[in-house]
Amino acid sequence: MISLQEFFYYAGATTVCCPLLLLAFIGLLPLLGVTLSERAMSRATQLCVWVGAMAAISIVAVMWSNDIFKVPLDVGNWVNIPEEHFHLEIKFVFDRLSLPFLILSYTLCGVVSAFASRYLHRDIGYYRFFLFYALFFLGMVLSTLAGTIETLFLGWELVGLSSALLVAFFHSRKNPVRNGLRVWSIYRISDGAFLIAALSMHHLTGEGDFAVLMGAEPWPLGVAAVTSSQALAVGLLLLVAAAGKSALVPFSGWLPRAMEGPTPSSAVFYGALSVHLGAYMLLRASPLLDQSVTLRVAIILVGGLTAIFAALATSVQTDIKSVLAFASLTQVSLIVVEIGLGFRYLALCHIIGHVCLRTLQLLRAPSVLNDYRSVEDAIGLTNNSEPSSLKVSVFSNWLYRLAMERGTFDIFLDEYIVQPFLATFEWLDRMERRWLSLLAGKSNSQTTVISNVPASQNTPEALNAEEGELS
């Protein structure tokens, strides 16, 4: 008979190790020259998902029957530099927040792997898909169970990386790559904010452990051990991080653009799991929010603005994937509002319900023609000149256009953030070269070799590769 402690240790380790083993299996074996068949990959994935999910469910059952609300699993400090007050602690927490989310991740990843193993049959990217999938799966499990902010960051990065790679899955066309890069760039911003938040947390408490910062009581009862202004500073950084990850205003543009990968990846990754990660992180840090009213107002404002914008944008979209992307965004931002208002259980339930429903809708997205037709057959032809909810007026036309332009947030980012940013660095580059040539005593023209993207690089081959591109 093993003790409760041991049970939690082994079962907890299983839930974390399953995705890790899967990644090792899919990622390392081909490096040794083994070619994996489609069947081997999908079998391995299913096995890992089943075992991990069973372990997670057994943890829930044991915790429930023993009235335990929180089980930490400490893997210890992996890096420890006492002189610098730096340590990297890997720690997992099983509690009322992480367990539902963990089981949800397992379920959906399992469903999607079963779906993808048939959907991608014979595709040349089959292996690549399952590799990214394994990466994503691991990232999702790590960030769900994270007990320290370092662990959360690790999982968060894996999710970001695999998402961007999956957006750019069809890399022979230009748009997926461009959009993948956009997703990646926005994730950089949000990761930057996250990293600064993590560092300031270490600075404030000397620990990255949530238990120290948010109080040792099981979620959601913790009380944060920081002052209101500290909470505001860290919280705002976390809000930026969450806004990037969950596509809140003004970063909303990436979500519909991310619909470039194969359907199952859009389904689970952007439509369902990873887009909720920002909200999940805010939930994890919710004791912090209690400390600052300003912070909560900021969260509600960002969420509310996104919800209004996304609902407006949903109604004008003409393709099914954009419709679903904006519809997801509407719900995610409402979840953020709920978190801001302090309804934590509601937010958790909302996440779970929304994730399930949206995954189903996304997987069934290609059926939209059939669905539309069967509804039409049942209730008769809908009137085409159906008046819209808003009367035709100058204002409504303007609103329609605004919705079509997707709130012009992308334009804002491109023209007022990216362009000046690039222009500054291009200017610095020019100045540096001028300065160097001055030092070297040469004329300006001789030192232009290192220029970044000169027109002369447009080799015929590069252009040939784009030839097949239509849009």
Partner: protein, 1007 residues
């Protein structure tokens, strides 16, 4: 020329260019038409040589793919030699550079793996790889020895005038002192010498062949500066076009759509926004100016062309390129304009012109902005192209180094020693170089393709000529006659039925059974066209529930309405905000049930779903509303539905005469249309019947059966000489080509005397469908090769219930052949589901072959359209086909885009053609050549296809076994003396355990 006629010319130029747009139309009524239909007035070869420039698409497969077929033996070297000789004609044996004759030269380029990388790769190969150290591995050792020996001898007693030889002698000696391996040293010296000679001589004579610069400013700007204006323009245009074309996807429709494309665009983009993209900043002002001046779209086009500096001589080409830049959407706008009957929300006439006007305005603005990025001071736009062309760096198809490298490899293969090459004159080198230039990649692929097609053609012609040498097989008193669609998918089920019982006779007819109609089922809201895409039906037919089930029908319709509106409300609200939050929180978790069951247990879920649907489906006892009063006009209203008795008799007689079924009727004749079912697949319609505009052909079969059972019709037929026995009964049916289920219509009208016969027939059908499923499973990698009859049926059914299945069936993929003639002459021939089969009896035709004329008028365009769409989609899946299905995104309920935003993707997706062999269709028609020529001359559409070789044609003599094929403008007798045809005891024995295409064979059992 006055202004009016000038504008009219512009309009005509746009309409002419529109011919080149994809003719696909809405994806829910899939049209199988040649994607190059607009170019059918050109000979096939010429059209293919132009597609690269016009569409930027590939005309043939990549060389490496053809070469793989050469290696597998699918393309034989003999075929290659024959097509090269035929192609060169009298020049075939002209010597080139004194080295070898042209045929030899060309053949060595095709039959060997000649590598021709890009320049940098070649630099690497020369510097780093074994290229200059070792001969190619495919050079035989004897020829290698011979070359080394000759070279060494030549160096040894080198004449003092050859600087190459002296040079290499020095190299050899210096190498020899360093290296011990004298043998490899010799080999390397030989190769180095060869390379040196070729490289320097080609350098002297090589002439670059530069393609014409592109006509659009955007293409030039992209090539010179990598600035892509279309990327900006398309982002805006894709959104607006899909909003304009939207058939009901968005909740909030484009507000001013009724103003038309041009005006509504202006109205929307005149408004100032909070922020606009930089390139768009002048747009609002420009549109305001155009609208305030009251310019018409055509006037605006003219203005734009003038501003862009497009002079009148190049207008057509410029407009064509402009239209084709976003061809999916442009084509869809054009389709909704010219075929308003095919969509719910059509576009008014003139929309395409309006689209061009807007597009050109946007192009202008984007170009101005784009050009300003590279030019500090931008002159007038009309001068831009001149400026860019001057900057254009040449991009020859083949570089000097590439050509040298090709020659280097050929010298090894053909065994040209260095001394022979060194003695060539400059004029001979020039000749060689020019010959290589002339035999460009396009030409090489053209010949590869011809040889590839030749294999299929010969296989087909051999099979038919061998089969007809054996006696025809037909039951003297058939027990059952089955009339199927000509579709290649029905070939197998017909063969299996005939194999199962000798007393079964089958026929093939175009899948709309000669009854073109708009049809609305009992549970449908809309009419759909059930006729070939080129035909606009003139009759409307509905399915009605019989009166005795009226109440149940009403209740069930109500239940369906309730379910429908609930599910619509649920879906709509899950996309809304506040209500959506409640719905997702409360109902969301319930979604895991369908999610898990649909993905993990597809078949169980499917059958549960079907059972549940039974409760609300319209009652199964229905009738077609088929009869119209003689003096009411056909239309959608109640009195306009159906056909008059005279019309019914006309259609019935035509159908029977077409297939030559005029006597010896069986007691039971089954008319079997076909359709499909699948889940989660926007391309579902492409699996339905191609002759019914992508709808199932069941209702047409049912309609014809009902007509033929009508005693009044039979009376008229009797007067016209067709005697149908009183105890013959016609029964309509629908064959589901995916699940292999067969549904019989109107069974309650079956006379009791027929019941035993039907029971017997159903037994045969059930076995035939199982065997058919088994035969289809050999093509699916996910089914094992040794699958049993029963498992095969379960496997194909499971495919249709699977949300994740992208290949519910393979449709008409692999089609290669179309036979028009008497089935009895080719009965028992295993055609591997690759042949369209149309029944036609020349002995029942009149002297003017009027029946054949009518048949071919439909069969040739329909089958050639299906074949072309599959073949071009397979040749360049990214341009002609829809690419891979995986990222498809249904847009405006009309088509699919790739991912988040792209042009509309037309054609067959990759998952539908990955096993297809892209060859032009081979028609074999049972008639005499002069009769076929007479028919074709009288029909413009056919004569284009025939004359310009968009398909191959052959005839089978009705009275003998002679086959004639159409080669170089005339029919020549086909020599079948060498032909042989393998035999097998049954279809199963022939296909068992094999995945790939199979040779045709004669099945002995059915004799």
């Amino acid at each position: 020329m006055n202004r009016e006629s000038k504008l009219e010319d512009l309009r005509q130029a746009i309409y002419a260019a529109a011919e080149l747009l994809p003719s696909q139309g809405p994806i829910t009524a899939f049209a199988f038409l040649n994607p190059l239909q607009g170019m059918e007035s050109l000979p096939f070869d010429e059209a293919m040589s132009r597609v690269k420039r016009i569409y930027g698409a590939e005309a043939y497969l990549e060389e490496t793919r053809y070469f793989a077929k050469v290696q597998r033996g699918r393309i034989t070297v003999e075929d290659l030699r024959t097509v090269i000789e035929e192609d060169l004609g009298s020049n075939a044996h002209q010597p080139i550079g004194g080295l070898c004759d042209r045929t030899e030269l060309r053949l060595s380029l095709l039959a060997n793996a000649i590598h021709c990388g890009v320049d940098r790769e070649l630099d690497w190969l020369i510097a780093e790889s074994q290229t200059l150290w070792r001969f190619r591995s495919d050079v035989s050792s004897s020829s290698k020895e011979a070359m080394i020996k000759t070279t060494m001898e030549w160096i040894g007693n080198s004449p003092a005038d050859s600087h190459y030889a002296l040079q290499s002698l020095g190299a050899l000696q210096s190498n020899a002192s360093r290296q011990t391996n004298w043998r490899s040293n010799q080999e390397s010296t030989t190769l180095r010498l060869l390379w040196e000679i070729i490289r320097s001589e080609i350098g002297k004579v090589f002439k670059q062949e530069l393609p014409l610069p592109e006509v659009r400013h955007r293409d030039l700007l992209r090539r010179t500066n990598n600035i892509d204006c279309d990327q900006w323009v398309h982002e805006l245009l894709v959104r607006f076009c899909s909003a304009y074309l939207d058939q009901g996807q968005s909740n909030w429709r484009l507000p001013q759509r009724h103003l038309g494309f041009f005006q509504s665009f202006c109205a929307h983009h005149r408004q100032s926004m909070i922020l606009t993209r930089r390139w768009q900043r002048g747009l609002a002002k420009e549109l305001a100016r155009i609208v305030d001046l009251g310019m018409s779209p055509l006037e605006s086009i003219e203005e734009s062309l003038n501003i862009l500096g497009v002079n009148s001589s190049e207008r057509e080409e410029y407009l064509q390129a402009t239209l084709l830049a976003l061809r999916g959407f442009a084509g869809m706008i054009w389709q909704t304009e010219i075929r308003p009957d095919r969509v719910k929300v059509p576009s008014p006439p003139g929309t395409l012109v309006e689209y061009v006007a807007i597009r050109l305005i946007l192009d202008r603005l984007a170009l101005t902005y784009g050009a300003r990025q590279i030019l500090r001071e931008i002159g007038p736009l009309s001068e831009l192209r001149k400026h860019l062309i001057a900057k254009l760096r040449p991009r020859p198809e083949v570089s000097e180094e590439q050509q040298s490298y090709v020659l280097f490899q050929m010298a090894q293969i053909l065994g040209w020693p260095a001394n022979q090459l060194a003695s060539l004159k400059t004029s001979q080198w020039a000749e060689l170089s020019e010959e290589l230039n002339r035999f460009s990649s396009h030409q090489r692929r053209r010949l590869f393709h011809l040889a590839f097609e030749r294999g299929t053609i010969h296989q087909s012609l051999n099979a038919i000529s061998c089969r007809v040498q054996h006696p025809p097989i037909s039951p003297s008193k058939p027990k059952l006659q089955v009339i199927c669609c000509i579709d290649a998918r029905e070939e197998s089920i017909r063969r299996h039925l005939e194999e199962i019982d000798d007393e079964i006779e089958t026929f093939g007819i175009a899948g709309f059974f000669g009854v073109p109609m708009y049809y609305r089922g009992a549970g449908d809201a809309q009419f759909a066209s059930h006729a070939p895409i080129v035909v606009r039906p003139k009759h409307w037919v509905t399915e009605e529930v019989v009166y005795s089930f009226e109440d149940s029908h009403r209740n069930r319709a109500q239940a369906r309405r309730l379910i429908g509106s609930t599910s619509r409300r649920l879906h709509a609200s899950s996309r809304g905000s506040i209500v959506g939050a409640i719905v997702t929180t409360l109902i969301g978790p319930l979604a895991t049930a369908p999610l898990l069951s649909r993905v993990l247990f597809p078949r169980l879920t499917g059958s549960l779903h079907r059972t549940a649907r039974q409760f609300v489906a319209p009652p199964s006892v229905t009738r077609l509303h088929l009869e119209r009063n003689a003096n009411s006009i056909p239309g959608e209203s109640d009195e306009g539905l159906g056909f008059t008795v005279a019309e019914m008799a006309k259609f019935s007689e035509q159908a029977l005469r077409d297939i030559g079924l005029l006597e010896s009727f069986a007691r039971l004749v089954i008319l079997m249309g076909h359709g499909t079912s699948c889940l989660n697949n926007p391309h579902e319609s492409s699996y339905h019947c191609g002759a019914c505009s992508g709808s199932p052909g069941g209702p047409n079969a049912r309609a014809l059966a009902a007509m033929l059972n009508d005693l009044r019709v039979r009376r008229i037929l009797h007067e016209n000489g067709i005697e149908i026995p009183e105890d013959t009964f016609f029964l309509g049916a629908l064959h589901n080509t995916a699940t292999e289920e067969i549904r019989f219509y109107d069974l309650e009208l079956l006379p009791s005397s027929q019941i035993a016969g039907l029971k017997w027939a159903r037994e045969k059908f059930s076995l035939a469908t199982q065997r058919d499923a088994q035969e289809r499973c050999r093509r699916f990698e996910s089914a094992s090769l040794g699958i049993s009859l029963n498992d095969a049926l379960l496997h194909v059914q499971a495919r249709t219930e699977d949300l994740a299945q992208t290949r519910p069936e393979y449709g008409n993929s692999t089609n290669a052949l179309c036979f028009v003639g008497r089935r009895r002459r080719i009965r028992g021939l295993y055609l591997d589901r690759r042949s369209f089969l149309m029944s036609y009896d020349p002995s029942r035709d009149d002297a003017q072959t009027n029946v054949l004329k009518r048949i071919l008028g439909a069969v040739i365009p329909v089958c050639q359209g299906i074949n072309s769409l599959y073949s071009f989609s397979a040749i360049d899946s990214a341009s002609w086909g829809a690419g891979t299905k995986l990222p498809h995104n249904v847009t405006s309920l009309l088509g699919v885009m790739d991912g988040a935003a792209s042009d509309l993707r037309t054609g067959v997706p990759w998952q539908g053609i990955d096993i297809h062999e892209p060859v032009r269709l081979q028609f074999i028609i049972e008639t005499r050549p002069e009769q076929l020529l007479a028919i074709i001359q009288g029909n413009e559409v056919l004569s284009k296809i025939f004359r310009n070789q968009w398909a191959h044609f052959a005839t089978l003599d009705p009275d003998s076994t002679q086959v004639h094929c159409y080669v170089n403008g005339q029919f020549v007798p086909y020599d079948s003396t060498q032909a042989s045809l393998p035999t097998a005891l049954s279809s199963l024995e022939w296909f068992k355990g094999k995945r790939d295409h199979l040779p045709f064979a004669r099945i002995l059992k059915s004799q």
